[in-house]
């Protein structure tokens, strides 16, 4: 990609030039061409976004108003059915169960991630250099692991017969856990999924937290300590207020990420047992593609998107308050 600087004149891609700049004067009056330059530069990005993001988004809404199952798909039929998919879903107990489950799942994950990440971040700030680098390396590895690879490793760790977790629990004296099948129950499966997500997400929060902590001037701590504040009070009255924007934005980012999680659910136990660990995005996938009720899948997708939009609205309110430079 690196462009070397030898053949100068050949390289300028035509059309993008601000016209009278060749005269050697950087400040020029706006000609039509130079006024349209930014739009020309943005054009490819806009076209890509409309075609590859806008279209699927519109299509999702469109499909949600259709009766589209295997038969209609094969025969290329378009059967509009108004709001009936929505009526079905909003009165379906399975949908509301899944929604409740998704909210509970997200809450548990995000609380663990934020509390864990904050504590690890505070610890990083306190460690000596060698220990810190060591812990950072471990965090980095956990973070870097591709989700699918990590999920596979966790299935192996929690394998019922040869898994190291069951062996360890057995050694601790919890003998009923030898050969325990984690995937046979809803809570067992959720435990593995949550541990997997928390394990991979804490590093992000911890690193951000640590980076934020290093920006707090040491005098603030000293002053607080002089006034006799203990660790908790220092956190509550010095660290937290300085990093409040960070806490807010990271929390919302994590909520959105966890709410959307799909690969972990699929790779750990494919939503089982009996669909009891399906969350909304996975439920939409199962209804849509798995059971070939594409219209219904799209309806669930739209409802999920609407919930995400509410979350994102909050997130952007926080972000936009922070970034005036936009």
């Amino acid at each position: 990609m690196a462009v070397q600087s030898e053949p100068v004149r050949v390289q300028s891609p035509g059309g993008v030039k601000g016209s009278p700049l060749g005269s050697g004067r950087p400040v020029v009056g706006p000609s039509l061409l130079s006024r349209s330059t930014p739009y020309l530069l943005l054009l490819p990005a806009i076209v890509a976004t409309l075609a590859l993001l806008g279209w699927p988004l519109v299509k999702t809404f469109e499909l949600s108003f259709q009766n589209l199952n295997k038969r209609q798909l094969i025969l290329h039929l378009t059967e509009w059915n108004g709001f009936s998919n929505y009526k079905d879903q909003l009165t379906s107990s399975e949908f509301w169960h899944t929604t409740g489950r998704t909210i509970a799942f997200t809450t548990v994950n995000v609380v663990l991630i934020m509390v864990g990440g904050t504590l690890v971040g505070l610890l990083l700030n306190r460690l000596g250099k060698k220990m810190r680098i060591l812990l950072q390396a471990a965090l980095m590895l956990a973070w870097a692991m591709p989700i699918v690879a990590a999920a596979t490793v966790f299935s192996w760790l929690f394998d019922s017969r040869f898994g190291v977790v069951n062996w360890f629990l057995d050694q601790l004296g919890w003998h009923s856990m030898a050969n325990y099948n984690w995937y046979s129950s809803q809570y067992g499966t959720f435990f593995v999924i949550i541990l997997l997500i928390v394990w991979q997400s804490i590093p992000f929060v911890a690193f951000n937290m640590y980076a934020g902590l290093t920006t707090i001037p040491a005098e603030l701590y000293e002053a607080a300590r002089m006034d006799g504040a203990g660790s908790w009070r220092i956190f509550r009255w010095v660290v937290f207020p300085s990093l409040k924007p960070f806490f807010l934005s990271t929390t919302f980012l994590e909520i959105i990420w966890v709410f959307k999680s799909f690969a972990q659910i699929l790779a750990v136990n494919a939503g089982g047992p009996q669909g009891l660990t399906q969350t909304l995005p996975f439920y939409a996938y199962i209804q849509g593609t798995g059971n070939q009720h594409y219209g219904i899948g799209a309806t669930i997708a739209v409802l999920t998107i609407l919930m995400l939009v509410v979350l994102m609205a909050y997130y952007f309110r926080i972000i936009l308050k922070q970034e005036d430079e936009l």
Partner: protein, 279 residues
């Protein structure tokens, strides 16, 4: 302020516990991949395998179409990243350096696009791709992966471009360059680290993507357009309880990403704050 030995050493003690907690799964993946089968299924786990084997790696790489999947994954990922780099360089230059109407709304759209719920849009993407008769092909996959990494790429490159002093460009123009030349000769070379970082993050996103390829490219067999994440999720069902081979497969899949992270390290935190990589 004086602290007792215990008071001083507890952070280190906790750090060691956390180190094990975060490191162990990764270590376990590597070590299982190199362990002999007898050590994998022993009653007491073998924590430090002294007698290793490469047998599992040959099982994994010998699996049907393994190399095809590797090829697919690399093709899709590299093309998606290059495509988004080109588009993003143009766009980010505009938003970093030019004033125009609609700039703010464009930036807002980019930020929103970064959080696009791809996971639940797969059904619609499937319908679109099916209408175009392009299922089981690498082309739509490349295009959509490009779109997935595009907002992040624009957003990050904008920061890198804004960091290049405007005066450099202006003095080049005083010396007779056109604005395009000034960009190509002055700004672009300075952007190299930025382009590098951004493309590596894009690489990770595209390399790891699962929901879309899962729904678009179902066909297996020779000439299939499946990618490594999909292969890895089916690996367990293919190889059953052969955990050695499964871990070898995971290792092979994870290695490129782990290497990239090692390379990025410092930039990782700031880069990720922008949000796209976790998807």
């Amino acid at each position: 302020m004086r602290r007792s030995i215990i008071g001083r050493s507890w952070p280190n003690a906790i750090a060691v516990v956390l180190f094990v907690f975060f490191m162990f799964p990764v270590y376990w993946m590597f070590s299982t991949a190199f362990k002999r089968n007898s050590d994998i299924i022993s009653k007491t786990p073998v924590f430090f395998p002294l007698r290793g084997t490469l047998e599992h790696f040959s099982t994994a790489t010998g699996a049907a179409q393994f190399w095809e999947m590797v090829g697919n994954s690399f093709t899709v990922t590299v093309l998606a990243v290059l495509g988004s780099l080109v588009i993003a360089t143009l766009a980010s230059f505009a938003i970093a350096r030019m004033k125009f109407r609609g700039r703010k709304s464009f930036v807002l759209v980019i930020m929103l696009a970064q959080m696009a719920p791809w996971e639940v849009m797969t059904i619609a993407v499937y319908m679109i791709v099916r209408e175009k008769d392009m299922l089981d092909s690498l082309v739509p996959l490349t295009l959509f992966y490009m779109m997935m990494v595009l907002p992040f790429t624009i957003w990050t490159l904008r920061g890198f471009i804004a960091a290049v002093p405007k005066e450099l460009e202006e003095s080049a123009m005083v010396d007779g360059c056109t604005r395009t030349q000034a960009f190509v000769k002055v700004v672009f070379p300075l952007l190299a680290p930025g382009l590098m970082t951004t493309s590596l993050f894009g690489f990770i996103t595209a390399w790891n993507e699962l929901p879309l390829v899962l729904i678009l490219n179902k066909a297996t067999g020779p000439g299939s357009a499946q990618t490594l994440p999909l292969w890895l999720t089916s690996f367990q069902s293919l190889f059953g309880d052969d955990w050695g081979a499964t871990m070898a497969a995971s290792t092979l899949f994870a290695i490129p990403v782990l290497i990239i992270f090692l390379f990025l390290q410092r930039n990782a935190v700031g880069g990720m704050t922008a949000g796209a990589v976790k998807g």
